[in-house]
Amino acid sequence: MTTELSYNGNSKQLSIEIDKKYELTDARSINVNQINKLTTAIIGESNPNFTPKPNDNLSKMIRNMFETGIKNMKQNKMQEALKNLTLAIEMSQRKRAPYEAFQIQLQDVQFMLRQKIDLELILGKNLEALQDLEMLLNTGLLDPEIFLRKTDAYLKLKQYNLARVDCERGLSLFPTNPKLKVMLNECNRRLAEYNGDI
């Protein structure tokens, strides 16, 4: 079930017809997209022996966008700030070459996501905040603040069991954190209510 691979000579991009019937075309399209991204990045390189060194220009652009966002946040223009931050993260994900140092890309994402999450929580976008928090956790960043925010988001979304599970995990990793303890009590209280135990 080979789907037709076509090559555009001008843009140097590959494309395939996506046949929804076959699941494996999903893997194919992912790979094609990955190749296209690599092509774009390599074409920009004049030196055939390009290294993983991160692109300084891009780093500057991303930082600028990030700082605009922070400025907007300080001026209470929350929606704007969120847009800026989202854009900054997108830039880091889409514009950087896939071979640029992973550490740099990771730090970009981790740093900016934290601010984005705070904005989302302020704006009440709990589900989006939750997704971003989970991504942050997946990247290996273990921090009591993340667990606090996650528990909070779950509670706001009325998922009391999940809130308690996460809060307990946070406490297991940071047993002395007072805020987590308070959160845990709150979770238990809400759960008791949910279960008709009060």
Partner: protein, 198 residues
């Protein structure tokens, strides 16, 4: 009265004899050895064929397939060299990912196998796959050397970075799908701003 019929100690016995040629044992021996040799070689051939037909552990091999597809179409479609390099880097990154994954899996699969959770068929496939992945990476490096002499060292470093960055990208891109699943599973009703409708 003691000598009567039947006391057969002293009478000669007539035994039937058949003339057998000298060559009979030789022919028998050579037939036997020949058939064993034939059987042995046929069995070995069958084993090799079975191994090559073993289904891979991984569902698909798109990274590799795409590279060879592009390589074969290079002339007729006038594919730029950098696209081929991109496809090769993608292939390298995938090989790195698979070898890390298999290393992590090998202890777990061994335990499951020893506990009788899976059968011999899977164990064979797994061991075969480990060898194949190794081979695949070596082949990729050879291709890299062919495309650009002296590139191999850099190629390995680039492949590693690309592998991790691609994983980060995939995780980031999956956020949209995860959000959808959460909404469905938790039966959430959100407004346009992503806030929970009370």
């Amino acid at each position: 009265m003691s000598q009567s019929e039947g006391s057969s100690f002293y009478t000669t016995v007539d035994v039937e004899t058949k003339l057998v040629s000298v060559y009979t044992p030789l022919i028998y021996g050579s037939l036997l050895i020949l058939s064993l040799i034939i059987f042995g070689s046929q069995y070995r051939k069958k084993q090799i064929k079975e191994l090559s037909e073993l289904k891979s552990i991984f569902d698909e091999n798109e990274a590799r397939d795409l590279y060879y597809e592009l390589k074969s179409k290079r002339e007729e479609d006038n594919i730029h060299e950098k696209v081929i390099k991109a496809a090769l880097l993608n292939r390298g990154a995938e090989a790195v990912r698979r070898s890390i994954k298999l290393k992590e899996l090998s202890t777990q699969i061994e335990i499951i196998y020893k506990n009788g959770g899976i059968g011999d068929d899977y164990w064979k496939r797994f061991q075969n796959e480990v060898k194949l992945v190794d081979l695949e990476f070596k082949e990729t490096l050879q291709e890299a050397e062919m495309l650009q002499p002296g590139w191999v060292q850099l190629f390995v470093a680039l492949s590693k970075e690309i592998c991790f960055n691609q994983a980060l990208s995939r995780r980031y891109d999956s956020i949209a799908r995860r959000t959808e699943t959460c909404i469905k599973e938790w039966n959430l009703k959100l407004d346009d701003n992503g806030r929970l409708i009370e």
